[in-house]
């Protein structure tokens, strides 16, 4: 019995060691990112390298605001990400409600199409979608970035999973009280699924804030650029401004981390739901 206890204790120590090792491996590049954003370009490429800056400088941050329209990118990112998130939230919850709480003709087929749409790789659509946007004059517009993905199958699917468990009595009671169907959605269903909506919020926002390929293709005017495409330009054929890029990445992370820390509970519970309930 005591051998078993010893064994358990050993296992526990080992488990902690594994966790610490992985945590170091995960966090080290981040700490290095922070440290490196205060280095000069000469020091960034010193061999053997330094971890902490020898002569910390704010030059990278200064140049970021002077040489690059950083605020412009930032505001564009906020604008596009919030617009996409709000639209997507509305359509996802509404669609999820439609599928979860009604029985209607063709429901099975429609839901099947929705699930299948999640399987189509975006890259197959890339070229023709670009062509379509050109035909309707949406290239280089904010519309072109946001609208095509405003009502994703995943969001509707996820919301349906949550709304299914909203008690039917609640909805029927509202209906008897003379509530319109949209009123039921707005006043009965939404308040109940608030945590799930919170999860979806971060999920969509994160995807939009970080998205690269699609805005890169749609946007042309650099006054409309978002942070990822604007900053990625700092590393190009004729310039390699790693210091500025690191400084920019750091600032771009602030809103995401704030949002995440404020809503981490909802987020984690939300993203997992799709997996647990098939």
């Amino acid at each position: 019995m005591s051998r078993r206890r010893l064994w358990n204790r050993l296992l526990l120590v080992l488990a902690h060691l594994v966790l610490i090792a992985v945590a170091v491996a995960v966090l080290l590049p981040m700490i290095w990112l922070v440290a490196s954003s205060f280095k000069t370009s000469g020091e960034l490429f010193q061999s053997p390298p330094t971890f902490w800056p020898k002569e910390p400088t704010l030059e990278n941050f200064r140049r970021l605001f002077v040489e690059v329209p950083f605020w412009r990118y930032f505001v564009n990112s906020v604008f596009l990400s919030t617009a996409a998130t709000l639209a997507s939230l509305f359509f996802s919850t509404l669609g999820g409600f439609g599928f979860a709480k009604y029985r209607f003709r063709g429901q099975g087929v429609l839901f099947g199409i929705l699930l299948a749409s999640m399987m189509i790789p975006f890259e197959v659509l890339l070229v023709p979608l670009f062509k379509l946007l050109r035909d309707i004059g949406w290239l280089d517009t904010y519309w072109g970035v946001v609208v095509p993905f405003m009502a994703g199958g995943f969001g509707i699917f996820l919301m349906r999973q949550f709304i299914v468990s909203v008690p039917d009595d609640l909805i029927d009671a509202a209906r008897i009280d003379g509530c319109s169907e949209f009123g039921i959605y707005w006043r009965v269903v939404l308040p109940v699924i608030k945590p799930a909506v919170g999860a979806l919020t971060i999920f969509i926002f994160l995807g939009q804030w970080n998205s690269y390929l699609w805005p890169l293709i749609v946007l042309r005017d650099d006054a409309k650029y978002t942070l990822p495409i604007g900053l990625a330009n700092l590393i190009g054929v004729y310039q390699q401004e790693y210091g500025m890029l690191m400084a920019g990445t750091l600032i771009a992370l602030i809103p995401i981390i704030t949002l995440f820390l404020a809503m981490q509970r909802e987020f984690v519970s939300g993203i997992t739901l799709g997996a647990v309930k098939e």
Binding site: A23, P29, I271
Partner: protein, 298 residues
């Protein structure tokens, strides 16, 4: 009035319609047009010549296509052999009540997902530098000799470098899925196993793994789809060029190259459809092997 009273009949159609309207415009139409394009040779948007199945024939004897396919599966294999087992292990550990600082570890492991893939790739490009990068620096501190692996400059190392960056980025994310699955397992199952005299390992094999099957299926299928569509990480990590000897060119990078650099839209569409075919086949095989859908309703 009657119309208003009947709203339960038409309301659901209205509620789900935004998705289907957007789906019809931004998916069905492009899909059809993409099928049409794949039978044409095209120069931009004005000029098309019908070439029948020639694009497909050309694709099958295009050595670079096969190479990009191989590279993509190489990455997927890395994901399956390193990332997912590691994610499961971490989830098992973090799930234990006896672990101190569980919340901290969860957050820490998850945090890379918050950073945009492009930034991760650029930062790793710097970290992989042979002489002054973080990776070799850390290896040099752990090992007796100075390590100078030319991660991104050598055909053999470049894909492992991409895989490693992928592990860094996605392991914590997948861990969260496993964790949720573990938390959904009813405690009575373990108690029953203990009554039957099962040890920890047996309990893992006979209780944990079977209960996790839906989650594992989900994670496997979605990581496979994600791996086969890999783009931003290797694209940025290799400055868009695909690395030495195209050793890190993935299918989607190859598609992008033809579609947006050579503006050969027909060929790009062909690559897209072949990729789609591969995705469907691979997903079906996975679901079959994991006997998806045969388990009792949870």
């Amino acid at each position: 009035m009657n119309f208003w009273r009947q709203q339960t009949k038409w309301a659901p159609y209205l509620f789900v319609s935004p998705f289907f309207i957007l789906f019809a415009i931004f998916m069905v139409y492009p899909l059809l047009s993409s099928i049409w394009l794949s039978f044409h040779q095209s120069r931009g948007f004005q000029y098309q010549v019908f070439v029948g199945l020639e694009n497909f024939a050309r694709l099958f004897r295009d050595p670079l296509f096969w190479k990009s396919l191989r590279n993509t599966f190489y990455f997927a294999a890395g994901t399956f052999l390193i990332q997912l087992p590691l994610a499961l292990l971490l989830a098992l550990i973090v799930n234990s009540r006896r672990i101190k600082g569980r919340n901290f570890f969860r957050l820490a492991f998850f945090s890379p997902v918050l950073i945009s893939g492009v930034f991760i790739a650029i930062i790793f490009a710097l970290a992989y530098d042979a002489r002054s990068g973080l990776v070799n620096d850390m290896l040099s501190r752990l090992l007796p000799k100075r390590v100078l692996i030319p991660w991104l400059e050598n055909e053999r190392w470049v894909m492992p470098a991409v895989i490693l960056a992928g592990v860094w980025r996605w392991t914590g994310f997948n861990m969260i899925y496993f964790l949720a699955g573990l938390q959904g397992i009813r405690q009575e199952l373990y108690e029953a196993a203990a009554v039957d005299g099962a040890n920890a390992w047996q309990a893992f094999l006979h209780v944990t793994l079977p209960s996790l099957r839906p989650v594992i299926t989900f994670v496997l299928v979605f990581s496979m789809i994600g791996s086969l569509q890999l783009f931003d990480l290797p694209y940025v990590l290799t400055n868009g060029g695909g690395g030495p000897n195209d050793a890190a060119t993935t299918i989607v990078m190859y598609l992008y190259r033809h579609g947006f650099q050579f503006v050969n839209l027909g060929y790009a569409a062909t690559i897209g459809w072949v990729l789609f075919g591969i995705l469907v086949v691979v997903s079906l095989i996975q679901l079959r092997v994991l006997r998806f859908g045969r388990e009792e309703e949870a």
